[in-house]
């Protein structure tokens, strides 16, 4: 391959990178997209969001058939062919990444497979996967280098029984006993999968609740369910040592409820992700990188070097594909001369666990910490006809409102399909909708989406599907 020049160089072909590349190409730029992996799509498509959702769907089917057997519909014992399941998952991934390659071709985006590092503010050197190297000279660059799983120093990383999310998604085998270190979204999603595939799960979390970013009451239905289904959930617990032995991995714990040691067949490490800002020669381009590896950017996604932009996991939390994609468009548009800004007010987070947990905007914890005067409307799904017909009653929808303006500022939802339901709340936050706007919008009955309207009505005091004893001054319906 010859050396290349680009009007826009994009480093990293995850959701942020390919979106930036495609948007820039659509705005008339000559784009070169560099990624070290063979398939476009980054972690999300290849070893993250997408394959995990395929496996979570399988887990959901297993759970539902088991639960339905109590209601008169039985299929007999579940039989799992891991190879076929894996092949189906890989097929889904292949279809999506193949689609991306086509989209890139149609836009005449040049893709280069290799490891890119800056050598100057105007040049990137790519160590080609096929061998050799090329340089890419560029007018503008967009760094979309993503993040990688954090490893723990005291865990023997070379032991094949220690896996991260990527290894977990390969479902090489289902261990009898699996320890999941980290009670966040990724750890719990993988726990959901492996639990339904037959592993006994132990989850260990350093903080005092699962999914620490969300409000405790929103996580509670999930916490209750996994406490019942999993072998152990240890909160406020630290893993202090891991000893690899022939019988398994012996883990030392330090926590109120955990035993001193226990032995597991496999360990999944899901303690978070670290940005890749320090791995790309950013200093040679003059791009400032903070000590933790994040690249600070402006609201136009500009780094400390005006013609170099950065987006996605590498610029900060939350490390989510949908955030990266929106940032990507801002960066590409600014490069093309448009006056775009990242002005989003809410970035939704979703744990695709069973039940799902989703939240957006301000959480109650954050509102309290920031001293925001807020009110809330809560609708328990036990009162939702649709939820009960799904055989589930533990969900809840909670909507937070600014006391001063009445507008929606945050939302937390737990239950099946919470991740899909949260979109309405995000739209409400972006549009500055208040409780009446949501409550007076006719939602189809019976659906789970009604729960958002019901929560708004609960706040307004107009709900009839619940009986909320009226306290003086609590009715908010002015008219």
């Amino acid at each position: 391959m010859e050396n290349q020049t680009a009007e826009v160089l994009v480093l990293g072909a995850g959701p942020g990178g390919y979106t930036a590349a495609f948007r820039a190409a659509d705005l008339g730029k000559k784009v070169v997209l560099v990624d070290r992996e063979p398939a476009l799509g980054g972690v999300c498509l290849n070893v993250g969001c997408i394959p995990s959702k395929a496996l979570l769907h399988a887990a959901r089917v297993i759970a539902e058939t088991r639960e339905m057997s109590e209601n008169g519909v039985s299929f007999g014992p579940v039989s799992i062919d891991l190879d076929r399941l894996r092949a189906w998952k890989d097929g889904v991934v292949g279809r999506l990444t193949g689609g991306l390659a086509t989209l890139a071709r149609q836009r005449r985006v040049t893709t280069i497979r290799g490891y890119g590092r800056f050598t100057s503010p105007r040049e990137l050197a790519v160590e080609l996967a096929e061998g050799g190297a090329v340089s890419v000279g560029f007018e503008h660059a967009i760094i979309a280098a993503g993040s990688e799983a954090i490893t723990l120093p005291f865990i023997p990383a070379s032991d094949p029984r220690v896996i991260d999310s990527t290894g977990a998604l390969e479902i090489g085998e289902v261990p009898p006993r699996l320890l999941v270190i980290g009670g966040g979204i990724i750890g719990l999603e993988m726990a959901t999968v492996y639990h339904e595939l037959g592993a006994k799960i132990t989850v260990v979390e350093l903080l005092d609740q699962l999914i620490p970013g969300a409000d405790r009451d929103v996580v509670a239905p999930l916490a209750k369910r996994v406490a019942r289904l999993y072998e152990n959930v240890y909160l406020k617990t630290k893993v202090t040592a891991v000893q690899a032995g022939p019988e398994g991995l012996t883990v030392s714990f330090d926590g109120p409820k955990a035993p001193a040691t226990d032995t597991f067949d496999r360990i999944l490490v899901a303690v978070g992700r670290r940005p890749n800002g320090s791995l790309i020669g950013a200093e040679r381009a003059g791009v400032a990188v903070d000590p933790s590896g994040f690249i600070p950017v402006s609201k136009q996604m500009r780094t400390s070097v005006p013609h170099i932009f950065a987006i996605g996991d590498v610029v900060g939390q939350p490390m989510l594909a949908h955030k990266a994609m929106h940032e990507a468009k801002v960066a590409a548009e600014v490069i093309a001369g448009k006056n775009s800004f990242f002005d989003a007010r809410a970035i939704p987070s979703v744990a695709y666990t069973d039940p799902e947990v989703a939240w957006a905007g301000v959480t109650e914890n954050e509102a309290r910490a920031a001293g925001v005067a807020y009110g809330k409307g809560v609708f328990p799904w036990a009162a939702s006809g649709r939820s009960l017909t799904l055989g589930r009653s533990e969900g809840m929808t909670k909507v937070l409102f600014d006391e001063a303006t009445g507008r929606v500022i945050g939302c937390g939802i737990t239950g099946p399909s919470a991740g899909d339901l949260i979109a309405e709340a995000v739209l409400a936050i972006e549009m500055g909708a208040d409780a009446a706007d949501i409550g007076l919008t006719i939602h189809p009955h019976p659906t789970l989406s009604e729960t958002v309207a019901m929560a708004a009505e609960a706040f307004e005091g107009t709900i009839t599907d619940l009986y909320l004893p009226r306290r003086p001054g609590t009715a908010r319906s002015a008219t």
């Binding site: 200093e283 003059g286 600070p296 002005d343």
Partner: protein, 453 residues
């Protein structure tokens, strides 16, 4: 020690420094404005690239600077390491051969103050404040475009439109349901002169609605032509004048004041003042006399409510003074004229008009007037029709005084007469009231002892 230089501003070169916000010894934070530059497109603040103490200024007001010109040196020792200033600008900068790699061989995590920025023409170690300028959207509202839209009641699509047009939504009020800012509000905000002051009145039709446009002409058919863009001031003041002219039913009332005695007194004061380095002009007396007349006729110190069903009477006396500058007409506001004496006013007028001519006035200097005086006395003329600076309701125009024969009942005596042209909003003020106001004003000017009554 950090040298701060002019960052890459896009296509600007040789732009004047119009304001310096810091002095040696000042402690500045990251992103604090250091100096203001004015191009023909916009004024832009150059923010500090880091926290520190200003050691030495390298520019003075009026200097022409370009990318890389040194601005000042900053002592950053002891200052907390701030995150890099990541400033947005519309123009993607065009870079040329700078070699920041040399300087970049230090640890990566550090303040931008030390980080090399491509585009700084000076060598390694020189700081190019990262693209400091809030330069420059074509709309000339670049600085506002950086405002944070948190809390603004506008949908994502409307926020994007505002970003594209460089409009500050935080300064706009919406006409949509529950005060939401609509797309139409944004468009009106950009078109309307109100954008400059950041407000769109609800329900008001855009100025010029229903008025046929003057057809375009190809003048080059008739002879050689040259197109020169309007100055920024002209672009801002033009729509405001047009709006006033279309909205206010104007009447102009002429009168003459005998200022023979006043002028003699003024000359005495002026001679003394010259020694102190300032001048005493007629304008200072006109300001004091106007306040006296405004007190006597409070309707002249009022504005119509937006609904036009009530008058808002003002309990303060801020007077606009039209100043002719090389770039066009500006109207700085002299505050609390009622609480200042002729000496203080004279000094303030001197300073203010100098700043106006240097283009150093800020938005705050131009807001809040109750009544305006436009004096062409230094040039000449016999009378003219000043345009009311709405929402004010009257404006006083003054031309050159002249010695004229005045009949005192027995003989013609030479008196120094000052022609006054008072334009007023006929919705608020009727002809008789205007005549009384003018007479009263002339009376005060004729016998300035009445000013102290």
């Amino acid at each position: 020690m950090t040298e701060v230089s002019v960052p890459d501003l896009g296509d600007f070169a040789d732009v004047p420094v119009i304001e310096i916000h810091v002095a040696p010894g000042d402690v500045v934070n990251n992103e604090d404005p250091l100096v203001t530059l004015e191009s023909d497109k916009a004024t832009m603040d150059i923010p500090s690239p880091t926290a520190g103490t200003v050691r030495e200024l390298r520019v003075k007001v009026g200097d022409l600077v370009s990318r890389g010109s040194p601005i000042l040196s900053l002592d950053t020792e002891g200052a907390a390491v701030e995150p890099p200033p990541l400033t947005d600008q519309q123009e993607p900068p065009t870079l040329d051969a700078a070699d920041p790699v040399e300087a970049a061989r230090e640890p990566a995590a550090r303040s931008i103050a030390e980080a090399p920025v491509a585009g700084a023409t000076a060598g390694a170690g020189e700081v190019g404040a990262a693209a400091g300028a809030s330069a420059a959207a074509g709309a000339g509202a670049g600085a506002e475009a950086l405002a944070d839209f948190d809390g603004v009641h506008a949908s994502p699509g409307v926020r994007r439109l505002a970003r594209e047009l460089g409009l500050d939504l935080t300064a706009l009020s919406g006409t949509g349901p529950k005060g939401r800012i609509t797309k139409e509000d944004v468009i009106a905000g950009v078109r309307g002169p109100a954008a400059a002051e950041g407000g769109v009145r609800g329900g008001e039709p855009p100025a010029g609605a229903g008025i046929p446009e003057v057809p375009a002409q190809d003048f080059s058919k008739f002879g050689p032509v040259e197109v020169r863009p309007l100055t920024r001031i002209q672009r801002l003041s033009g729509p405001a004048l047009h709006r006033s002219w279309l909205n206010v039913p104007h009447v102009t009332h002429d009168d003459e004041a005998d200022i023979t005695d006043l002028d003699a007194y003024r000359r005495e004061l002026d001679t003394a003042a010259k020694a102190e380095g300032y001048r005493v002009t007629l304008l200072a007396f006109l300001l004091k006399a106007s306040v006296s007349a405004l007190r006597e006729f409070p309707k002249f110190n009022s504005s119509l409510t937006p609904e036009k069903d009530a008058l808002i009477y003002k309990g303060y006396y801020h007077l606009g003074v039209a100043v002719d500058t090389p770039d066009g007409l500006v109207v700085p506001v002299i505050r609390d004229v009622d609480r200042k004496g002729v000496t203080e006013l004279s000094k303030e007028l001197g300073v203010t008009s100098a700043r106006a001519r240097e283009g150093k006035l800020g938005l705050a200097d131009l807001q809040g007037a109750c009544f305006t005086i436009s004096s062409l006395g230094g040039i000449g003329g016999t009378s003219f029709t000043p345009i009311v600076n709405a929402p004010e309701v009257a404006i006083l125009g003054v031309v050159r005084s002249k010695m004229a024969p005045v009949w005192d009942g027995e003989a013609f005596v030479p008196r120094l007469m000052l022609p006054l042209s008072l334009s007023y909003d006929h919705r608020v003020i009727d002809g008789a009231l205007a005549a009384r106001f003018a007479r009263y004003l002339c009376g005060v000017l004729q016998d300035i002892r009445r000013l102290v009554l």
